[in-house]
């Protein structure tokens, strides 16, 4: 009988504990949904640091702004981590103009790809061959490609529910296409924007730059522009395209990750990282990618403070610099951690757009994966059902090189992400306050649960 009572008390304690935790999770979500602090911080970031690609003056302003925001919160510690980043500069606004004896002339909206070389001041003009991918290009061989501009026009595959799959279906053209074309003697490359949207914004992104060469000027063209170019090519295969880009690479330059901490009460030397990347493409305010991820990470600290949740472990919000080009911020963060012999317990990144969260992508041992999946019922009231094994985020991934630890990525509704990704329309007004704050709350809640319950092995 005593044993039964003991077991019943134990079960009751368990139930009460789960209820108490659910109440804290609920409080986190309620507070997040009621607050506009993070959203207003994002507005400020977008308005004052548009185009904050690594190495730019806007990126320095972004470092200063987020440093100041965290300082003013009175966190236990706020500091910069010095790193060296690549410095690629777009230069003047790109020109792309179709010239056809049959059809006339028309400009297209293009954006130079990150790391691409420029055409020089005079630009270049050449005939265009359209291909649906690198395979088709390589089948053509040097004879057909040499001296031409290669136009990669395979569209984003819309049929997938998960738009990251649609992105994956076409992005090889942007990353590997220009170099593949260069190797066959092409003089430039034009890539259909890797986007789910039919509109006139070009979507940039990094392309492979070969130290050994050859490299050719490469631009993304808007999807409407790509359709037009393809149509004109059907009507006049002999049209030529004039391209002018003045991008340049400069020597690596100094930059910083920005870090803010709440010190842990019990295990201050065990670190939990929550982060986003502070840089954004130079043609964009970078609201979803990834200003929102940064402000959500700072918001996680604010939520702990506001609700007087004292973490056992040290929680760090990290604004990683240079995700878009060379991921130096993430690499440096892991390297600093190794040098300082830190102990890292858990890290989570938000870099899939500040849309309604759907779950977490978890990079962990099977045991820790199962533990995190067992938390799903806490999140079901907030529409989060997808707790699966998968990648986390490119900025926190380097931690795995040095630490045997659990990583996660915030998974959000992906339908709209590639409408704005790497493009001028990734603007503040596209970020819904409530959707963004659900993401902040989701990260705060999973950190709270993992830390409070000492869940990870």
């Amino acid at each position: 009988m005593r044993k039964v009572i003991f077991i019943l008390s134990f079960l009751l304690l368990g139930v009460l504990q789960v209820r108490a935790q659910q109440e804290i999770v609920n409080a986190i979500f309620s507070e997040a949904l009621s607050s506009d602090v993070a959203h207003e911080n994002l507005r400020l970031l977008c308005e004052t640091t548009e185009g904050r690609i690594a190495g730019s003056s806007a990126s320095v302003r972004a470092v200063e702004l987020t440093h100041r925001i965290m300082k003013e919160m009175g966190l236990d510690s706020v500091y910069l981590q010095e790193i060296m980043v690549p410095k690629w500069v777009r230069g003047e606004r790109e020109i792309a103009r179709m010239n056809s004896l049959l059809l006339g002339d028309m400009n297209l909206n293009v954006s130079a790809l990150g790391l691409s070389v420029g055409t020089g001041q005079d630009g270049l003009s050449a005939r265009v061959i359209e291909v649906q991918g690198i395979d088709e290009l390589e089948e053509m061989g040097r004879e057909q490609v040499e001296g031409k501009i290669v136009f990669f026009n395979r569209p984003f595959d819309q049929t997938h529910y998960h738009t990251f799959r649609g992105y994956g279906s076409a992005v090889d053209q942007r990353y590997s296409g220009p170099h593949a074309a260069a190797k066959l003697g092409a003089v430039a490359a034009v890539v259909r924007s890797v986007t789910s949207a039919a509109h006139d914004f070009p979507h940039t992104g990094v392309t492979f730059f070969s130290e050994e060469g050859p490299n050719v000027p490469a631009v993304a063209v808007s999807t409407l522009g790509a359709d037009l170019l393809s149509q004109w090519l059907k009507e006049d295969p002999s049209l030529s395209l004039f391209l002018r880009t003045t991008c340049e690479q400069f020597p690596d330059t100094i930059s910083w990750n920005v870090v803010g901490e709440i010190r842990g009460s019990k295990y201050p030397n065990e670190i939990i990282t929550v982060g986003g990347h502070l840089d954004a493409w130079d043609n964009s305010p970078g609201a979803h990618d990834d200003g929102a991820g940064c402000m959500q990470s700072i918001e996680v600290l604010r939520l702990f403070r506001e609700l007087s949740i004292q973490p056992k472990r040290t929680i760090r919000a990290v604004m990683f610099m240079d995700e878009e080009i060379a991921q130096r911020g993430g690499q440096a963060y892991a390297e600093y951690a190794r040098l300082k012999e830190e102990s890292h317990y858990f890290a989570i990144e938000s870099d899939r757009g500040a849309y309604t969260p759907r779950g977490f992508s978890i990079d962990a041992t099977p045991e820790n994966l199962a533990v995190i999946q067992s938390l799903q019922p806490f999140f079901a009231p907030y529409g989060m059902h997808e707790f699966f094994a998968g990648g986390s985020g490119v900025d926190i991934e380097p931690l795995k090189n040095h630490f045997n630890m659990t990583l996660a990525g915030l998974v959000t509704d992906s339908q709209r992400y590639f409408d704005v990704h790497h493009s001028g329309n990734d603007t503040f007004d596209q970020v819904n306050r409530r959707e963004m704050q659900l993401g902040s709350a989701a990260m705060a809640a999973i950190i709270y649960l993992i830390d409070a319950l000492d869940l990870l092995k």
Copy 2:
């Protein structure tokens, strides 16, 4: 042994059947995600029939447009159902101006509430008392209220994940507040817009009109305007508010539901209805509410056609008229069905905004509820996890008065809905093509499964 083989074959058949059905569900989603037909139809509706409240000329254009769209699809049958609808007319643009000896004058953005009476050409001016709800008003009593303008300022509760709960937390002020104020001698009512957004758009909606009276002029004020009015009242409680609205009610007028059908191959007399409402508030393009629901319903028929899925039962897309004011379209649809002695098998409505679908709200017997819940695995790949007992949609609900049948509502991500609901910013550009099409596909898929498998009792 023979029995084992028999059972195994049976199981195998079951597995193969489920696989075949999942393939059709997948095909429905892929086709929907690839198509822009419904989205472009919505664009046309929003651009050419803005402000299509029942009884308006815009609503007649909307009837003509959707009739023509379905005619051009070559459906088996396309027709109108005649109904009588209320005719409430907003009149001239409303004026609301704060007048303070201390603070000066300032205009506020307001929108007359549906069915509200006008102030007359001269407008009216009175002192304002702010209350946080009807209870507080009634505690004040006639002495404090008489001759005043009552300002209901309890905000939308942001803390709930489900925004319909936030809406429900405040909408009584809009529906019942003005009449409650009138009964205590108020001369007008101003209601804080029932919205999740902090912006300067007023959000209208219907208010209770008493045949016996008293009724007073009533307007919604934008949330920013409400905050300002509240602030000014703190600084100068004696400020007066000038209001001018010229709304009028006219005798009921003729209108129509628009219906398109694909005839069933096996049970043509059994009807499956999929619908949305064609009317929208007169201050709005009505993109999410509910132009999208109409175009999604037509899209369900297009998806069946495009994929050569022949339904056993007759599927009807219904554009219901007059959801916003008196729900006459839904009532008439049910009444026509009763008079024609139709047999109704299933009905589903989309009227919660064309956001990413999350599941279905199901109004059914416990047995049929369980059957529909058992379909959830077909939808899990599309992020739909919420299959719960609940209301369907106000346009299809009257069917329950005459038919013992199953109803459902498409449940969508609700975070952004009340940012645009009943407001001038419910514009086409707020509707993401992919999110909308996931909703079309979800409705087509559940209709396909229910029909093909004869699931409902």
